[in-house]
């Protein structure tokens, strides 16, 4: 009995690490630039396709292609901030929401046109390997993904707290006007925030590739999880998003175990609606850090 529960919790935590990379990106952009990036899931998809093609054409292991996807998506993020998002920052909600929404639609449908709706998988030497802890079963690829995801999250935390640029980003997220008065260049900080957030999404894509299929709609799964985790963990709060993502992973996994295989999304929506109904400021109580 307890093995089943423990196994479900382990599965949930492992996939929750990937959710964390996506939702930390969403919450970082929201905290610093004050926009919601609807296209975050599509950047996970792009990361997956880059890893897939590198593995397929050149035999590069998806974990190694992390070194390609992260810089490439960092650059894409900077370009998107500089050429698109910068132009819609203002008091008006509509352009901000629908610009990244249009970007999401565009990337998704371009992928559909270029790569078709087929599922693409990469098989690695460790794809089918697993550790056994008594009755428990820990897939190697997922464990690697989880450890790398946690390491990247930790590195981001160190960056935000101990470097000048990181401190500038936190300052800009707390009070943009005062930060600007202190000599922080907002556009530069925003470019870096977008770059880091997209690099994390790209990393999520590469880490997923050994055990998950790439297809044009794959980002939608992760972005929905991320939005719920970001609301649950209080908007703009990086640690909150991390903890909430792990909780979401566990809740989804327990839902699949005890309610039914296709009930993962129902659990997610139920959690979102319950959060909105009873704690709309998130579990952190409205503090953005």
């Amino acid at each position: 009995m307890w093995e089943t529960v423990a196994q479900a919790v382990i599965n949930g935590l492992l996939i929750g690490g990937i959710y964390a990379l996506v939702s930390i990106g969403v919450t970082l952009i929201f905290g610093v630039v004050k926009i919601v990036n609807f296209a975050q899931g599509e950047f996970v998809m792009i990361g997956m396709y880059i890893s897939f093609f590198l593995a397929n054409q050149f035999g590069i292991d998806p974990l190694v292609s992390l070194l390609v996807t992260m810089p490439v998506l960092f650059v894409i993020g900077v370009l998107i901030q500089h050429f698109l998002i910068r132009r819609v920052l203002g008091p008006n909600d509509m352009p901000q929401i629908f610009l990244t929404f249009a970007l999401s639609l565009l990337l998704l449908n371009l992928a559909l046109m270029l790569f078709t709706a087929n599922y693409r998988t990469v098989h690695t030497s460790y794809s089918d390997e697993a550790f056994h802890l008594g009755e428990l079963y820990i897939p190697e690829a997922k464990l690697i993904a989880f450890v790398v995801a946690m390491a990247l999250s930790g590195a981001l935390w160190v960056f935000l707290h101990f470097t000048d640029l990181g401190k500038a980003m936190r300052a800009a997220s707390q009070n943009r006007d005062v930060a600007t008065l202190m000599g922080i260049n907002p556009n530069r900080v925003f470019c870096v925030a977008l770059g880091i957030a997209l690099a994390l999404a790209g990393a999520a894509g590469s880490l997923l590739m050994p055990f998950y299929s790439a297809y044009p709609f794959v980002g939608q799964v992760f972005v929905l999880m991320a939005f719920v985790a970001v609301v649950l963990g209080t908007l703009g709060n990086v640690i909150g998003a991390l903890i909430a993502s792990l909780m979401m992973g566990v809740a989804e996994s327990l839902g699949i175990q005890y309610i039914g295989a296709d009930s993962g999304l129902i659990v997610v929506f139920a959690m979102l609606l319950l959060t909105l109904a009873f704690k709309p400021t998130g579990l952190g109580g409205g503090r953005a850090r």
Partner: protein, 330 residues
């Protein structure tokens, strides 16, 4: 005098437009063309319903498929299981949608801006999952076909496509009249005030939660009527079509591209987007998936970056330049 002349001219144009729209199916006999006209009128109507809340009050919902689907399912269940005419079912569907909008609004209106949008997406998706999962409620994922009774106007089934055309034309007219009346009432001004700055509107005494709730009721009622019509028109219903995310997207898109918060914006936007999509489909043969939404998203990005007021904004600017150049005649 001047205002009266402009008003008379406006009425004349409106009368000409109505006459053309009524005569259209008598002149154009191709059922392919009438099918496109019906799509344009239907999505204009959904856009008009969305625009009441999304456009005037700037509550940017991407979950209107929830009400489209509820309208479609209510009338279909009443018709298939109880033999009740879809004309009654249509109104019943509207009422069900209004009732559903109360708890959904209660949840979603707690959030502002992008998070309101996300919450509306989640509610529509959750409803779709409910209709997929609970087979006893409504046929599960397979959906059902509507029994074909041949020519039965009382059951909203017609032999010619032209009849469907007139039904949806009447729906669009209803939506436009309601928008026109609201635009000119105190409610219209309250909505625009909320859309511009909700805190400021509340500070000067606008009861924002009540106004938002009321406009959501009207908007969801109208959207549900479109759902019933669509199901009757295609003789088929399943959760993936009735609650399709594309309906939510199209409702918002046509309004933004045409001109958000304007009477004619959704109509103009639909004409542009649907025409583009039809031309693309006949050109590419519809063989490649994703082309239509790729083009839609490019148009949407172009509008947001260069003309956030939409095509109506472009037209208004052109008109003002025209009037400005000839002040003596005006």
């Amino acid at each position: 005098m001047m205002a009266q002349g402009r008003r008379a001219r406006g009425l004349l144009w409106l009368a000409i437009g109505i006459a053309i729209l009524i005569a259209l199916p008598q002149v154009v006999k191709s059922s392919f063309a009438i099918d496109i006209f019906i799509r344009i009128l239907l999505f204009s109507f959904v856009g008009v319903a969305w625009n009441l809340m999304g456009g005037y009050a700037k509550q940017l919902s991407l979950g209107h498929a929830a009400y489209f689907g509820l309208g479609a399912y209510t009338s279909t269940i009443l018709q298939v299981d109880f033999g009740i005419s879809p004309w009654i079912g249509m109104v019943a569907g509207g009422v069900v949608a209004m009732l559903a909008s109360l708890p959904i609004g209660w949840l979603c209106f707690r959030l502002r801006g992008p998070y309101f949008t996300i919450a509306t997406i989640a509610t529509a998706q959750a409803l779709m999952l409910i209709f997929l999962k609970f087979r006893d409620l409504a046929w599960g994922a397979e959906g059902t076909t509507i029994p074909n009774l041949g020519s039965a106007p009382l059951m909203m089934q017609f032999e010619t496509k032209a009849a469907y055309y007139y039904v949806v034309l009447a729906l669009l007219a209803l939506g436009l009249v309601i928008t026109y009346l609201i635009e000119r009432s105190w409610m219209g001004y309250y909505l625009v005030a909320i859309g511009e700055d909700e805190d400021a509107a509340e500070a000067i005494g606008v009861n924002a939660p009540k106004i938002k709730r009321d406009i959501y009721l009207i908007s969801s009622f109208l959207t549900a009527l479109a759902g019933t019509f669509y199901t009757q028109y295609i003789y088929f219903i399943d959760p993936a079509t009735a609650f399709s995310f594309n309906i939510s997207i199209e409702a918002a898109l046509v309004s933004i591209v045409g001109g958000i918060g304007t009477l004619w914006g959704p109509v103009i936007g639909t004409v542009l987007l649907e025409t583009t999509s039809t031309l693309l489909q006949s050109w590419l043969g519809g063989s490649i998936g994703g082309v239509q939404l790729t083009v839609y998203s490019l148009i949407l990005m172009a509008v947001i970056l260069w003309r956030p007021t939409g095509l109506m904004g472009v037209a208004t600017e052109a008109w003002q330049r025209h009037v400005g150049r000839k002040p003596a005649q005006a």
